[in-house]
């Protein structure tokens, strides 16, 4: 799938035959598609934002619309050509503020999460030497709230850079329903419940005979049994 007819470079999405994605929209700055797997549908967006911040405004606008219309778990990954804050930039000149503010506003407005990336801190460099050298974290994966509920394992990491001035990003995620049965743990909030103290003291008033270490152990066990 590709767009940007006359524009170079093109934006390509390549997938294996078995996946069978449905394309939601194709515009010159992004490709959005949805995939159904095991009766679960989720959306992915490959982003290649324009380098001009005025043109990026249409991207933010379109993406907001897309996220509002499609009520799906979404993950947006790609080159945003802008950064979130000054810490994602290293170089001689301070980064321009307006593009950052707009980017922040867009991600706040849609309540998006910026997934932490493993590997290289800055994903792009301008390849100039000396004092003009600049590095930025332009590439990232962003997801909405539903996405976090949807998959339980995900990692986003940078791969080895060969020819490009960007690091490739690799997003891995697993969709499975297995939920860990978490261990017993005395939660702090239970202490605010008015019945809690009685439960504990009733467990404690049980007669347990034996070595005192065993008694303590046993009473704690009784308490656990009570909560299950």
């Amino acid at each position: 799938m590709t767009t940007r007819d006359s524009l170079n470079p093109n934006l390509w999405c390549i997938c294996s035959l078995s996946i069978n994605p449905t394309i939601l929209s194709i515009i010159d700055q992004y490709v959005a598609f949805s995939i159904t797997e095991n009766n679960k549908t989720f959306g992915m967006v490959a982003v290649y934002a324009s380098t001009c911040y005025i043109r990026r405004r249409t991207l933010w606008h379109d993406l907001s619309n897309l996220l509002n219309q499609q009520n799906l778990p979404f993950c947006l990954i790609g080159d945003y050509n802008t950064i979130l804050e000054a810490s994602e930039h290293r170089g001689r000149l301070a980064p321009a503020r307006l593009p950052m503010i707009e980017f922040q506003a867009w991600s706040d407005q849609n309540a998006l999460f910026h997934l932490p990336t493993r590997g290289a801190n800055y994903t792009w460099e301008n390849r100039r030497s000396g004092r003009f050298y600049t590095e930025r974290r332009l590439d990232r994966a962003v997801s909405n709230h539903a996405w976090l509920n949807f998959c339980n394992t995900m990692t986003c990491s940078t791969l080895v850079r060969t020819k490009s001035d960007h690091y490739p990003l690799l997003l891995e995620f697993q969709i499975n329903d297995c939920i860990f049965k978490s261990q017993f743990r005395f939660m702090k909030m239970w202490s605010l419940h008015e019945g809690c103290r009685e439960v504990i003291s009733s467990c404690w008033n049980n007669m347990v005979v034996g070595c005192p270490i065993y008694v303590l152990n046993k009473k704690l066990q009784l308490l656990v049994m009570f909560t299950l």
Binding site: F113, L115, P116, R118, G119, H145, L148, N149, C151, N152, T153, M154, T155, C156, S157, E172, F180, S182, Q183, F184, R185, F186, M187, K188, M189, S191, L192, H193, R197, I200, S201, W204, C211, P212, I213, Y214, V215, L216, N217, K219, L220, V224
Partner: protein, 408 residues
Amino acid sequence: MNQEKEAQMKLEIELQKQEWFWQEKAIVKCHVEGDRNTAYFHRITKVKNASKLISSLRIDDTLITNQDQISDHVVQYYKNLFCTNSVVLQDPLLVHEVIPSLVDDNVNTMLIMLPSHSEIKNAVFDLNKEVAPGPDGFGAFFFQTYWDIVSRDVFNAVIKFFTTSWLLPNFNANTFIFIPKTGSADTVDQYRPIALANFKFKVISKVLADRLSKIMPQIISNEQRGFIQGRNIKDCICLASEVANILHKKAFGGNLALKIEISKAFDTLNWNLLLTILICFSFNEQFCKWIEVILNSATLSISINGSQHGYFHCNRGVRQGDPLSPLLFCLAEDVLRRSISKIVEDGKLELFKASRSVNIPSHSMYADDIMVYCKGKQSCLLALREVFTRYALASGQIINARKSTIFS
């Protein structure tokens, strides 16, 4: 009016519950109590849950991504680390040569007294409330909040240990969790293992640690600045920076500063060495016995991505997370420290000469980080190497050459 007030109060309590719930899940230390931060805690939990899992590990040059393989690998690694042990002490003379008997009868009687009620209570309330609980799920918060109910049984249990020096098997069960040392940790050794011990056991260990820490300043020599009351890491930093200023001063052989780092120092400590040291310091038999029981009682299981794997006894090492561990480690490390001082006294290791009135100490230490300052003569370095080799034989502590550096 009254009804409204009541309703408000109820809402307040429920909201508080909700906040505490999410706060406990999010484990954010630096939050400010004030506004209710449920939305914030909720989000942090979500992102953490999704991205904190160990999804891949690197072994040499291969990458494993299968969950079972990962857990097997980690369990095997830690079994090797904690369970391999040369049973005999390989260089027993070293300890007897350098450790003086410093603990007198007064101190010993203080150490082996039965703990009083207030001593145990202090131990319980000194431990941090927010710390994650051990395998049994009851953390400090439970014991501190319901102290009026549980105190009698806790007290009896602790006294039982002190009178019989015996622990219920399983009482000292630990769960290991892994904290990545760097943001992009990808091999096992880049995760720091922290043992979550049962709180009921920690009380015992804390009582002993409190007593021991009172006498530590008299036993452990001045150069060790970690974990001891009244000593500060800043002294090490000041000293190192002062020494760096005079490194260039002309001297025969030149001046050297060696930063020596021991790999997995806490996890590989030899128990026999530790017990021999305690005896040489002439700690009371009873006290040594307690320490031995505590060391032997530890069982470990490893928590990877939320599920438990493996269950084994360990044969060496002190666990990070036990209040007693840092003190025991300092005691063991004192052998090394005293051997360095000894070769200085014997004239085998020559020190810097700064100016007439200033003496530069031969070394400074903060826990397992050691900085040695000496002249760069061949004889000095050979003597120093011998010390470290003997210590390595005795304690199982091997120098990590990759992280150690020499400044000149």
